[in-house]
Symmetry: C2
Subunit: 300 residues, 2 copies
């Protein structure tokens, strides 16, 4: 099958390569010439614009967008709109907000599939987990591509109508925040606890048959092996957060209590406050003086 | 090697069977005759008391205790004490508090290994993850047994002196509480969110390559497959909690913040309050009346 890939960053590059390995023909566009050249070296047909990409594709175009969530998706869809018709299929494989995907599905001339993509760059070899929403016929049409990009036929699923794919992916990421924080807390306690432990050995032993074994725990093991049991120079400021925030916002909207996921997001925000800058703690410090005349610690 | 197993419940039975499959000879005691008979059917040599078990074992006795944490461990050690000497090795494979293990290691005439055992009854086939604390020579002496009972040589590790094994196992369980709660919250949101989702399909797709894939997520998939996407008749009261409490107590002692693990333990306690019985919520209800004259909901 012929596939147009828009965006050849880390993730788009993997989509293109896995599709080619799966026996498909890939035409791609990326504004970055280096990315285009690199892809051309692995049999991707490069094109110089979105309209050139559309022109390369036969009737019944299948296009996979792998661009940053937000304006870049709308911009690509605007540029492609004139070349799309109702028999074409567009996949958004990025981390879009599900409500944007619902809106885009309504306005896009082609059938529109929102596709949550998990596994990160590490999925280059094993394949992604793909959570898809949108019209059933379009999903079925794309199955040969999904088979190649995912871990295999079991690695993708149409979970519901438009938005369902990105909805499930958002919640996936919310869970991910809490899982990472949970491992972080446990290793924090072990690191600062009463035994002098080799945390790589702990993680390795746990990954062998323990209840909490997981891919994230394998990444913990790798982290301690590569950075040291004290994590060496790794900083404690954690970036990211949009999908976690969307998960919490949706939980508020649906009035579903998700205390751990909320707390994991809060930990991430807390990590970004400059040293000595946490206003809440500073007020607590002053209030302890207020009622108990405990000496107020002052910043320099 | 000859091994004495004390306690043939679900976990002790697996220890005995895996040791036999590993080519070892197993002598066992359990006060429950049915458990003894069942074990005898798989080549375990049954004995009628702890002293009979000790008498069956050659010099340099190796004994694995797999009895409920707490008094049962002390009782077994008291009964065995007269038959033990410094060349013998006793392993406690249960969920003992690490401070109890430190105390027992000091008073036991034999070398004492505390061994956190994870994997549950599901480990019968794949083997356990074993986290061991205690004297190095005793650990090395027991390695052939650990190789058989664990997933293999990689599935066990001496992590430090007495107590280190149960210390690491306790924190493992604290992490486990938070991981389970994190998955629970995510699926709760999906179950009560804006799409009508097949949660087994979601879990299955995630287990194929997604970042949050894990053994616990495989158990989620199994749960939705066997109980239905709404979990059917499964109750929401969650039992257990000693190791989670110990993790939180140790974090308080060490002044290490573990907000998610603490919240996961709190969720478990909250699950046990009888319907309409949550005092904090009832006071909030009354206070809303107090300041705002919001009508007070009354229980029947």
């Amino acid at each position: 099958m012929q596939l147009g890939v828009v965006g050849l960053g880390r993730m788009g590059r993997i989509v293109a390569e896995r599709a080619i390995e799966g026996g498909h023909e890939v035409v791609a566009f990326d504004p970055d010439e280096e990315a285009l050249d690199a892809a051309a070296a692995v049999d991707v047909t490069p094109t110089e614009s979105l309209s050139a990409l559309a022109a390369e594709l036969a009737e019944r175009k299948r296009i996979w967008l792998m661009v940053p969530a937000g304006e870049a998706v709308d911009a690509a869809l605007t540029d492609l709109a004139a070349d799309l018709s109702e028999n074409d299929v567009v996949v958004d494989g990025g981390n879009s907000h599900f409500s944007d995907s619902v809106r885009r599905a309504e306005s896009c001339p082609a059938a529109y599939l929102d596709c949550g993509t998990s596994g990160g760059p590490a999925a280059a070899e094993a394949g992604f987990s793909l959570m898809v929403g949108g019209p059933a016929w379009a999903y079925e049409e794309m199955e040969p591509i999904f088979d190649a990009v995912a871990t295999g036929p079991a690695g993708h699923e149409r979970l519901g109508p438009s938005g369902a794919g990105h909805y499930v992916k958002t919640v996936h990421n919310g869970i991910e925040y809490a899982l990472m924080q949970a491992y972080g807390e446990g290793f924090d306690l072990l690191s600062n606890g009463r035994y002098d432990l080799d945390l790589e050995a702990v993680a390795r032993t746990w990954n062998e048959g323990a209840v909490i074994r997981s891919w994230l725990l394998e990444l913990c093991e790798e982290a301690f092996r590569e950075e040291g049991t004290d994590l060496g120079t790794v900083a404690d400021r954690v970036a990211g957060g949009s999908t976690g925030r969307w998960t919490v916002e949706e939980a508020l909207e649906q009035e579903v209590p998700i205390p751990l996921i909320q707390a994991a997001l809060a930990e991430r925000y807390a990590s970004r406050v400059p040293p000595e800058g946490r206003f809440s703690r500073r007020l607590v410090n002053r209030l302890r003086y207020g009622f108990g005349r405990h000496e107020v610690a002052r910043r320099e």
